[in-house]
């Protein structure tokens, strides 16, 4: 492009990659990694907080007792993360208190001389990748908007820095209290930190420990996550809505088939006859004349209508194919009782019974009928009607239940997940979901 050569020797030299200095408090060697950008450095041995801009003068000190936490990502570790190489240069433990319980989480400051800073937070095995935002979010009470996306308020707390190691491009103060507010839109969390009149916003994205371990080549495995974290993606929620949409489509298909079935069932009556039965000693069984079932294999309804009054009749039916010798054997009871009591007239049972036989092939058939009843009830009259190709409603109900149940189950699982998530927040959403346990 331009003919001029790059500025030789004119631009000041870059900082050497790693500087080793001595801690003025305890003499231990300090490794400084961020090339003159550090504002505060914490000595790894005596935990003194040193002012990097003022010749490492000692500002204050972290109590040795708070140093139980060792960073899971050792300072100095490098890894390829989000397209650039980063080095872990700082480690912080921050705590907040709720209902008398202290909750602590850890933050790892990552540095790239090109891309700058980002930090990884870890709590109960849940990791987040956070960077300072560039556009301005708008906080509106219980929600915040950032770049067109709405985030729901999850928690406001006062965070204190209880321990730190390494270097930071800001001033680190022991027990420094900062008001932190989190808004979530899983897998993202929009966090605001306010000190005095200055507010900094960061956007975090939920990431899996395994990815971090892989990127930084860390030994062992990432700690296992416990519970549901504020911006942990559910994976179930989107699936649940998709499933319900599928359900609607499938239920509609079911309804269409039902309607077609109703319309196109031939409901052809092939036989009807009236008989009388009297329970006596003689042989009760008899056979009907032949009738033909034409067309395709279909359902066949055998309907019994009996004039009963406080009686019962039991019919042993067999539908027999004359040519093949195949019989379909079944028994039906018809009983009907009626009376009057203090509440008025009551009835029990019915004078009609309908049995739908499944998938009867076409052919020439007759019925073999053997009635039974109480002796001494006199003559019982009943009509037998045979109809082929009738629609069967029960199979539709079963299919509908088969479609509905998994959808309900899935929604319940998704709801359960969200309940677990919001149980930890400032505003529990569920009935009976208590505070932060």
């Amino acid at each position: 492009m331009s003919a001029a050569p790059p500025n030789p020797g004119g631009t000041p030299p870059s900082e050497p990659q790693v500087q080793t200095l001595a801690c003025p408090s305890c003499g231990a060697p300090l490794t400084v990694r961020s090339m003159g950008r550090a504002v505060t450095i914490v000595c790894g041995h005596c935990h003194s907080v040193l002012d990097a801009k003022d010749q490492l003068s000692v500002l204050e000190r972290f109590a040795a007792a708070t140093s139980k936490d060792t960073p899971l990502i050792p300072l100095g570790s490098r890894g390829k993360w989000r397209g650039a190489v980063y080095e872990a240069i700082g480690f912080q433990v921050r705590s907040m208190e709720a209902d008398g319980i202290v909750y602590s989480w850890r933050e790892y400051l990552l540095f790239s001389p090109y891309k700058g800073y980002r930090y990884l937070t870890e709590y109960n095995g849940h990791w987040n990748d956070c960077s300072v935002v560039t556009a301005l979010p708008e906080a509106q009470g219980t929600s915040a908007k950032y770049l067109g996306k709405t985030y729901k308020h999850f928690q406001t707390c006062t965070a204190r820095t209880t321990f730190a190691l390494g270097e930071f491009p800001w001033q680190v103060k022991v027990d420094d209290a900062i008001r932190v507010t989190d808004y979530v839109a899983p897998p993202y969390v929009l966090s605001s930190e306010t000190t005095g009149s200055e507010t900094t916003w960061t956007l975090g994205e939920y990431v899996h420990g395994a990815d971090i371990w892989k990127a930084f080549g860390l030994p062992g495995a990432a700690p296992k996550p416990v519970g549901v974290y504020e911006n942990q993606p559910s994976g179930l929620r989107d699936s649940a809505s998709r499933i319900w949409i599928a359900f609607l489509g499938l239920a509609t298909a079911l309804f269409v088939i039902f309607t077609l079935n109703q319309i196109f069932s031939q409901q052809e009556r092939v036989f009807q006859e009236y008989y009388r039965f009297s329970a006596s000693g003689t042989e009760a069984s008899f056979v009907t004349p032949e009738f033909e079932l034409k067309g395709r294999t279909s359902s066949v309804e055998v309907r019994t209508d009996a004039d009963l009054s406080n009686q019962w009749i039991y019919l042993n039916y067999a539908l027999i194919d004359e040519d093949t010798g195949q019989a379909y054997d079944f028994g039906r009871e018809v009983s009907y009782y009626t009376g009057v009591d203090s509440d008025g007239r009551w009835t029990e049972g019915s004078r009609h019974d309908s049995a739908v036989l499944p998938s009867i092939p076409p052919g020439r058939y007759y019925l073999r009928i053997e009635p039974e009843s109480d002796a001494n009830l006199g003559l019982l009259g009943y009509t037998v009607t045979v109809t082929r190709d009738v629609p069967v409603t029960e199979i539709y109900l079963l299919a509908f239940a088969a479609l509905l149940l998994p959808a309900l189950l899935f929604s319940w699982r998704s709801h359960n997940f969200e309940q677990m998530r919001w149980a930890e927040s400032d505003q529990p959403k569920s009935i009976g979901g208590g505070g932060d346990e």
Partner: protein, 62 residues
């Protein structure tokens, strides 16, 4: 994502099965199939009981 796909495949299976059932005339009534009923039953219906292997006698009630 995978769950909704699985559900859809399952649901289509249910609907297809139902369609087949509606066409074939399936129902829930339990029926015992007896094979090889001889033509002689037409003349002597009482002899059907002998060939009906799991004949059950109605004992009253439902």
């Amino acid at each position: 994502m995978i769950w909704s796909r699985l559900y859809l495949i399952y649901g289509i299976g249910v609907v297809l099965l139902l369609g087949a059932g509606a066409y074939k005339g399936w129902s829930f009534t339990s029926v015992n199939e007896v094979k090889n009923v001889p033509r002689s039953i037409r003349d002597n219906p009482g002899s059907y009981r002998a060939i009906y292997s799991s004949y059950h006698h109605y004992t009253g009630g439902k």
